[in-house]
């Protein structure tokens, strides 16, 4: 256990992971029932990476998130009711129903938004980093992106510029083995994505993304380095999405066996067991925690359902400031 990971923070980390899981399971159900529309990218199975990364940040730090961003958003402290309201397209949602799941943002909470464009957040993160440097603010920007994003040109431009200017940015790659149907083994000529860091003279590290402690340790080091002016780090967190890419996915590009194997490595089960083993938490307490989470989710749904829809007459109101 890392020194700064107090029992309290660890318990709260586990709770956040439970929240993400339960929130997404509920969102999936609502989607099936037609109460949430559009598309939906679930991060079930990847909770340790979102929570571990954000755990290393201070509240005033920034994140930039992805299409698979519910976990990032919850980890950064978002209110579940306003999130659910957003999914249901309500006026009380984080984006007042304009953004939906793929564009959820919690600007006040430091989440500068999920992004529908793969790698779209990377150039922005560099801008946030530059902004902090110019304003001499000791804030870090951690940008999440997937393995697929690491093959976009934006990845290269962003890492290079952040590196030469030593910007306070953490590049956090959630390698879940697939970009939609494209397997990492087919899309990358190297074994590790973190090997790319050397091209920018940056530290690059690959961690077990399903191990909360490992993710936290890597992120904490990167955040400290960024905050102290030593520039960016590339972190590759290896994980796996249990669900299909989105709702249209028939999983033709992977085997049921592979999915089953990864389910064995459930990050939540793992953290729960470790915390119990370490005496941080009792089993009953853990069960109570989960029950409380489910109540929160139910309340979030109730809040969302009771919320009004946006007024079509106001459609063009928020285009310009």
């Amino acid at each position: 256990m890392e020194p700064s990971l107090t029992p309290e923070r660890l318990r709260s980390a586990l709770q956040q992971m439970m929240r993400i899981r339960a929130f997404e399971e509920m969102a999936e159900q609502l989607y099936m029932r037609g109460l949430v529309h559009g598309t939906m990218h679930l991060s079930i199975g990847q909770e340790a990476s979102a929570v571990g990364a954000v755990l290393a940040l201070e509240p005033q730090d920034y994140i930039l998130s992805t299409h698979r961003g519910h976990g990032h958003c919850i980890a950064k402290g978002a209110d579940l009711g306003r999130m659910m309201a957003e999914f249901m397209g309500r006026e009380t949602g984080y984006c007042r129903g304009r953004g939906g799941s793929m564009h959820i943002a919690d600007v006040d909470g430091g989440n500068l938004g999920a992004n529908g464009i793969v790698a779209g957040g990377l150039p922005i993160a560099v801008g946030v980093g530059l902004s902090m440097q110019l304003q001499s603010l000791p804030r870090v920007c951690l940008t999440f992106f997937g393995d697929g994003a690491a093959n976009e040109g934006a990845f290269h431009e962003a890492l290079n510029v952040a590196a030469i200017w030593r910007l306070p940015v953490v590049f956090f790659c959630e390698n879940n083995n697939y970009a939609m149907s494209m397997a990492v083994r087919d899309a990358f000529p190297t074994e590790l994505i973190s090997q790319r860091a050397a091209a920018y003279n940056l530290p690059g590290v690959t961690v077990d993304g399903n191990d909360l402690h490992a993710v936290y340790a890597a992120a904490a080091e990167a955040v400290a380095r960024a905050r102290s002016g030593h520039g960016p780090t590339l972190i590759e967190a290896r994980t796996y999405r249990w669900r299909g890419h989105s709702k249209s996915d028939r999983n033709l590009y992977r085997t049921q066996q592979e999915i089953a194997e990864w389910k064995e490595r459930d990050p939540i089960t793992r953290l729960r067991a470790r915390l119990i083993a370490d005496g941080v938490l009792g089993a009953a307490e853990a069960d109570a925690m989960l029950a409380a989470v489910h109540e929160e989710i139910a309340a979030a749904v109730a809040f969302a359902e009771a919320s009004p829809e946006p007024d079509p007459a106001a459609l063009e109101d928020e285009v310009y400031a």
Binding site: G89, R98, G99, N151, G153, S181, R250, P312, E316
Partner: protein, 340 residues
């Protein structure tokens, strides 16, 4: 969802087999790939996954991973792959998974593909196709729902095609593949599941406008999904005694001015309808062409436009619906115009 009666009914000689728009595209690809070994497909998740919208489907099983080639997520190189292959003997068909992502490939398409022939004094040809699923209506929100065809219609060297029906989806795509120039084919996501009669044999459609329904009182000029809505609106208006002509533009560059102007001349009243944002949309071009033409003297009312509102596409269903023209909006605008 919508089976097209009017225009299809005129192609009586062809067998009455129905396909969806997506199936028609797949058939066009399959038949052209069988016929011409130079044709191959590149894009994200077009292989085993079958395409984000199921368009390429099982093609990888027939043609293999070389000719139905999944790429990493790298749109600029997808376009570049097409350019490089096209100028050295191949006939690439690239897919940009959602047309919004073409913003990452505009350099290659606009500066390279479109200009290469001209810059090199006519000494090269760039026979490539880019397929671009676009449009709103699926709840995919602002970055997955745009209609950017007007951008490419502004670029000399490109052709820009927007099929509205399954049979056009096939015939126009085959024409695009055989065209020696770079052709942007905008497909509408809402059309993929629409059904219509599609001839089984290989055929091409001209990159020209077509009158889908004749009428005397008013012309609706539309393309892509708005053709379907215009035809529905025309049916409703017919019940009110308003006789509407529907012109399907099909190709924005080169623009078949003659067909549009001819219809405008006949009816004297024109409503241009598109989903793309009104300001700077291609509707302005169509209005201008009509006004500049001899049809001007035959106009009984100003040419009007009905188009997307001045906003990104919102997520909320009701907002999304209200952001682009619906059948009832077309009916209302047409009715008002006839009374002007």
């Amino acid at each position: 969802m919508t089976t097209l009666a009017p225009a299809e009914a005129t192609t009586v000689a062809r067998p009455q087999r129905e396909l969806t728009y997506a199936e028609a595209i797949r058939e066009a690809l399959r038949q052209e790939m069988r016929r011409d070994p130079r044709v191959f497909l590149i894009g994200e998740d077009i292989g085993v996954y079958g395409g984000a919208f199921g368009v390429t489907g099982d093609l990888v099983h027939e043609f293999g991973k070389d000719r139905v080639r999944d790429t990493p997520i790298a749109e600029e190189v997808i376009a570049g792959l097409a350019v490089g292959a096209a100028i050295t003997g191949m006939r690439p068909v690239a897919e940009i998974q959602f047309s919004d992502f073409v913003t990452l490939a505009t350099e290659q398409i606009v500066n390279q593909a479109a200009k290469m022939r001209f810059m090199f004094g006519g000494k090269i040809a760039v026979p490539m196709v880019v397929r671009l699923p676009g449009g709103s209506g699926t709840g995919a929100a602002a970055q997955h729902s745009q209609s950017l065809e007007a951008w490419f219609a502004h670029i000399p060297g490109l052709k820009v095609v927007l099929p509205a029906t399954p049979s056009d989806a096939k015939g126009l795509l085959v024409a695009a593949i055989r065209d020696p120039n770079p052709v942007m084919v905008f497909e509408h996501k809402l059309l993929y599941r629409t059904r219509g009669v599609v001839p089984e044999e290989l055929y091409t459609e001209d990159l020209k406008a077509i009158v889908r329904r004749t009428g005397r009182d008013l012309t609706l000029v539309a393309y892509s999904v708005m053709v379907i809505r215009a035809l529905e609106a025309a049916e409703q208006l017919a019940a009110e005694g308003i006789d509407v002509e529907v012109v399907d533009v099909r190709c924005l560059r080169p623009l078949d001015e003659a067909t549009i102007v001819g219809s405008a001349r006949r009816t004297g009243r024109v409503l241009v309808v598109h989903e793309a944002v009104r300001s700077g949309g291609f509707g302005g071009e169509i209005v201008a062409r009509i006004v500049e033409s001899e049809a001007f003297d035959f106009l009984d009312a100003p040419v009007r436009r009905l188009a997307g509102r001045e906003t990104p596409i919102p997520y909320n269903r009701t907002l999304e619906r209200s952001a682009v023209p619906q059948v009832e909006d077309i009916v209302a605008a047409a009715r008002a115009l006839v009374r002007e």
